[in-house]
Amino acid sequence: MKTLSLSRRQFLKGSGALIVSFNFFPSSPLLAQSMVEPRSDADPTQLDSWLAIASDGTVTVFSGKVDLGTGVETALAQIVAEELDVPFNKIHMSGLDTSKAIDQGITAGSRTIERGGPQLRQAAAVARQELLKLAAAKLNSTPEKLVVKDGVVSVAGDPKKNVTYAQLIGGKKFNVKITATDTGWNMKVAPEVRAKDVKDYKLVGTSQKRLELPPKLTGEFVYAHDVRVPGMLHGRVVRPPTITSKPASIDESAVKSIPGLVKVVQEGSFVGVVCTTEWTAVKAAKALKVTWSQAATKMPANSEEVFTYLKNTKSLRDQVTVNRGNPDAALAQASKTYEAAYRWPFQLHAMMGPSCAVADVGKDQATIYTGTQGSFETRTAVAEMLGFPEKNVRVLWREASGSYGRMGADDVAEDAALLSRAVGKPVRVQWMRDDEHAWEPKGPAQLDLARAGVDTQGKIIAWDFADRGFPLTAASGRGLRLLASRQIGMKPTADGNSNGTQGGGEMYTFETQKCTAPLIPWVQADETPLRTGYLRAPGDIARCFASESFMDEIAADERVDPVQFRLRYLGSNKRGIDALTAVAKQANWQERPSPSTPSSATKATGRGVAISNRANAICGAVAEVEVDKTTGNVAVKRFILSHDCGLIINPDGLKNQIEGNIIQGVSRSLMEEVKFDSTGIKTLDWSTYPILRFPDVPEIEIVLLNRPEMPALGGGEPSSAPIAAAIANAIFDAVGVRLREAPFTPQRVLAGMKKA
């Protein structure tokens, strides 16, 4: 504890000797007595950079991964405890601090267990090996003759000869080299060291309770939103209609009289207020009258304009995932052809807690508290914006609201840094609800075009799928810029990242097959509130909605049961077949073609199926819906999902994630759409952008398919992919209406029924 506060003071010396009220990860009361400082310059080739064992046996893991509310820290702690053979409650995940942690890459993309897990596991395996060497010397034995249980090493067959990890290394450094090549997600850590055999696992595979839940239930947990530092002021940002519009004039008369106003800040098109209290900042931001210059970028007038643009604009690159044979030639010879276009709207991450950060910017150093998904990316973005060397910016991650990809673009850290620099004091900024609904980087619209042809036997011989979508540009690094840095005139140099490519039917094998995801340049991106960013399993829910609806359309036309029809094309895709079969069994699926026989009842019921592969995790989904034929309202009554993400680390934690994906996915499928016109975003609160509520939540049944023979894969987002497709197919089954545009609103259902 003493060393820790000393080093912190040293760090802060340059920034005005501010003493930060440091908030420890609150779930580990042991920490205060037991924490050991890692090397200050985190070198992944030093074992001490990865973990430390204190004199009471507590193992602190300096993970470069964060928990976004998914429980992944608990799963990572299980992996480390398993490998080291220490009790689970002895593990402490330190919480990411860029001045100490190893950069394991951004926490995103369901890659934390898949990539970060083995990195931590191998570091733990090296530590175990070293501890056995130390124990062998102490016990006059050899490592091969030793066994470990609960952090106690003993000689096999002679348990009285024993020594604890704490006695061997407690409070001391290993000073051992470890191999670590490549960086971030791709870092390979000690691949030469043999980790424990999966068959000997005792802790991995069990439903350990989440480490941080008790303090979250009592208000003791310190979220990013709860960080307060001495002398801290409160800021709010006033956003322009578009990034390119500048404040032509700022009338401060209405705010001058507000007691507690510290400063109105303007830099480029960035405008904000800083006040002594939060409420004053809220009031001042509202009262400040800013006249903005004419916007240089026009918003599209409506979604039709966006889809027309997506259809007619030449792509930056086509992103071909499958290219087998010549689908065009096969289509020309097909006995019957199918063609359909599917639309997915702009949608929000819609974090419950709007973005929040605290920044303390000094003359040449800065400290940022934030709930970012990429602490090192935030560090780079803030350092570039402030013109500081990266090492002079310290990012202290604190868990924030669940973000589902949104905090991969840590806009608020830049806001807080700009305001703090302007007043020379630490500033906390939280976005207001309308800031978040308007300016968060959205999951962009997608237009998916599908063509297929069948032979005289009804067999698909041609498949041509194109997911036309926008690149994701609201990000830091790789030539991209966040909001505030754009507003002060920093320009992006890259055209954006992919919105994913999976879900276009590549799980199936057709004689001729092409799956592509053409990226359409999006001139509005970053300049208007229609910014584009990673939204949970980016792009997959839309592609899967299109491809799996299309499969269903063909199956229905061929009068074949939808499950049986899919099985015909899964070929040797064993995991796909298993997931599909498992979900059908759990759903008590009755083999028959869709739609179901029409009835005269007001409410029609239907079931639909879909499968997906996201980041190599396979899902099978069955939705059961009830459609009110008079109102067009769709109720999802029951949702069944099978899930194969390889070796399962924590079954209950995984189920919690899957339940969340299903509920969020039902919400996105039935009700969510960002509405806008040429003047801006129109859905700025929860009444205009509603999400699913308690009375409409379906019953959920989950089948976990554990594969101990496989590596562990991520579970944070794969199950979001098949949700919309299963629901659309169930609606068709119920009332014979094929919806090719989400969300599946009562108006669209009624319009479809009118047409039928």
Binding site: G69, T218, F221, E278, W279, P354, Q657
Partner: protein, 154 residues
């Protein structure tokens, strides 16, 4: 500015504040009670819920002046990690949290419900929580937690 007497979690204290300040900001910033959260500022999401005079209210739209001398209970007033209230414990037992940003509102709205209706039906719980939004999709576990706290989990 005015001196406003408050009674929060059984403790009487006086704050010096603009009487129009939403109670939420006073609880969080003046009294350092982090349980209630800012979610929308419009009484649409429930993250800021506290109990005042026995009713679950939205502290983001309740002026601090309206809370004068009225008993206010926040999440912290129910229990601590050392001694949890049965509702808090039930949420842990059911692992009924993902990010937890909404969970203050879920617990406080459920507390107000169970105080008035100790044995609610499923649909009564759903109705009582219909104004509380959760983006992570933890609804099913939250329902189970409330039923568990009410001794109704079968």
């Amino acid at each position: 500015m005015a001196r406003i007497p408050l009674k929060v979690n059984g403790k009487s204290q006086v704050v010096d504040a603009d009487p129009e300040t939403p109670l939420l900001y006073i609880l969080r910033n003046d009294l350092q009670l982090n349980g209630p959260k800012y979610g929308c500022g419009m009484a649409q999401c429930g993250a800021c819920t506290v109990i005042m005079d026995g009713n679950a209210i939205r502290s983001c739209v309740t002026q601090v002046s309206a809370a004068q001398n009225k008993p206010v209970t926040t999440l912290e007033g129910l229990g601590s990690t050392k001694k949890m209230h049965k509702l808090q414990q039930a949420f842990v037992d059911e692992q009924a949290v993902q990010c937890g940003y909404c969970i203050n509102g879920m617990v406080m709205s459920s507390k107000a419900l169970l105080d008035k209706n100790p044995k609610p039906t499923d649909s009564q719980i759903k109705e009582a929580l219909a104004g509380n939004l959760c983006r992570c999709g933890t609804h099913i576990r939250i329902l189970r937690a409330v039923k568990r706290a009410a001794g109704q989990l079968v």
